[in-house]
């Protein structure tokens, strides 16, 4: 089993719903993003092309971050998800330097508020209890492993059942994102990759990403 994702670029409208869903799901502090929407333009008027790339940790099969981590805090689960053990991270940031996709964030300011000087919102207060983030360590997208693990325990199928699927995927209003098992030849994501010739983002980095993009 190796969890993966397919993103249909023509469907993505750059609304950032996935970014906000991720923020809410993991109670991410200010200045921390586990996923981003990158937008650029190519060409000259009137032949202008707007490119929208929805990016996050690629959960690479051969991750550089795992190699360089001196403590073993960054490691790979059997299902391919790359995780960070906050209790083992020393905060050297070598993993952040080594990631060619720059998908990692460093949680530096534990006192940061979404509305500076106004105190914490109720949502932030709840987050500090429900999903505490250790200050001074690196963090990143974990494919909503909590949703996957709890879903599997309930007999649900990630990518099919909402409760077992990453928050960004189920929040997408255009259904541009698909989730599933890359090792299952009959999974929807494998069908999409085959039919629409899905390609990983910047394969030249040779890390074998688990996220594929299709037009």
């Amino acid at each position: 089993m190796r969890w993966g994702m397919v993103i249909e670029q023509k469907r993505c409208i750059g609304c950032n719903a996935c970014v906000l869903a991720c923020k809410a799901e993991h109670f991410l502090p200010p200045n921390i993003l586990w996923n981003r929407v990158l937008i650029s333009e190519t060409g000259k008027y009137p032949a202008v092309n707007k490119l929208i790339y929805n990016i996050r940790c690629n959960q690479c099969a051969e991750p550089k971050c795992v190699d360089v981590c001196p403590t073993g805090a960054t490691r790979q689960r059997e299902d391919g998800i790359v995780i960070i053990d906050e209790n083992e991270c020393v905060g050297c940031r070598y993993c952040m330097i080594a990631c060619p996709y720059q998908a990692r964030s460093f949680y530096e300011d534990g006192d940061a508020e979404y509305f500076p000087g106004q105190g914490l919102t109720e949502h932030e207060k709840i987050g500090k209890t429900l999903y505490p983030h250790e200050v001074g360590v690196v963090q990143k997208c974990n494919f909503c492993k909590e949703r996957i693990d709890e879903g599997l325990a309930k007999g649900l199928k990630p990518g099919v059942d909402r409760d077992a699927t990453p928050a960004c995927v189920i929040s997408c209003p255009t259904q541009a994102m698909h989730f599933g098992d890359l090792d299952d030849p009959n999974s929807e994501i494998n069908r999409l990759i085959k039919e629409k010739k899905g390609k990983p983002f910047h394969p030249e980095y040779d890390t074998k990403p688990s996220i594929y993009y299709i037009d």
Binding site: C69, P70, G72
Partner: protein
């Protein structure tokens, strides 16, 4: 990434900031101390300077402490030795600790029972560990494939040569009381400085045609915002002025001034290379 506009992040060339801004500047010093500690020990072995070996031992400790000071969780520092199979930071940290242990024993043996076979054994072991301390920082940087300027086989060589040059400079300064030793070190230093200049030139020259992102980084060093530090501190004061001084005079003042200039140039070299590291854009743009 603090300081990067959201719409620029990985859409344009994005500089690395984690290892140069704020607390990250300590990495530049750690790379420098590692190089000079290893270099000083090796040249002190060659010139048989016990004081040089002792200062190298102190500098190796400073390297470890600087590395630890950069950590946001310094009390977990021991964990950094757990992944030597794949991580160059882990390997480097082990080299530092082994060097500290071996060199401490060697220093004690040399001080009390000079000329024994066991002393030779520990000098050889200390030399191997010192070489590891000098070169590991080059591999830490050179392993990062995401930053094309750093991802070069020349970086470890450059860092070792710069470390040896810094080591010789420091040995020249601390041995000014022994004029014959300072003069010998100065002669060696001239040759090493020329080699260092050649390594640096080859490194940047290769970077300019290796890839567009490496070229962008090299141009930041040669013509961009890092150029004043590079040309003034690394090239002029760190290499050219000391070479001229060492070829034209051999007074104590020349040894001290040129030695200090080379050491400052060594710090500036690490700063320049770290500061110039940029990531290639993920999204195509005009």
């Amino acid at each position: 990434m603090i300081g990067t506009k959201p719409y620029d992040f990985m859409v344009k060339y994005t500089p690395q900031r984690d290892w140069i801004e704020g607390h990250g500047i300590l990495i530049a010093f750690a790379l420098f101390f590692g190089g000079i500690a290893g270099g000083l020990y090796l040249v002190s072995l060659y010139f048989d300077s016990l004081l040089g070996m002792f200062i190298a031992w102190i500098l190796a400790m400073v390297t470890g402490l600087t590395d630890m000071a950069h950590l946001s969780k310094p009390t977990r520092f021991w964990r950094m030795m757990l992944k030597p199979r794949t991580s160059w930071i882990s390997r480097g940290f082990i080299f530092i600790w082994l060097f500290l242990g071996v060199a401490a024993i060697q220093l004690a043996i040399t001080y009390w029972t000079d000329g024994t076979a066991i002393e030779t054994v520990f000098k050889v072991l200390g030399g191997i560990m010192a070489f590891g301390v000098a070169i590991y920082s080059g591999f830490v940087v050179g392993y990062v494939g995401a930053i094309k300027l750093w991802n070069s086989a020349i970086v470890p060589i450059l860092f070792v040569v710069a470390g040896v040059a810094g080591g010789l400079a420091l040995l020249m300064v601390i041995s000014v009381g022994e004029s014959f030793l300072s003069a010998d070190v100065a002669i060696a230093l001239r040759a090493v400085l020329i080699g260092y200049a050649v390594c640096l030139a080859i490194y940047l020259w290769v970077a300019t045609y290796e890839s567009t992102v490496a070229r962008d980084s090299a141009m930041r060093i040669l013509k961009g915002n890092i150029a004043p530090v590079f040309w003034l501190l690394v090239v002029l004061l760190g290499i050219i002025v000391p070479i001229i001084m060492l070829f034209t005079a051999d007074s104590t003042a020349v040894f001290i001034i040129s030695g200090i200039l080379i050491i400052i140039g060594g710090v500036a070299l690490r700063y320049s290379i770290l500061k110039a590291g940029v990531y290639s854009p993920l999204v195509p743009t005009d």
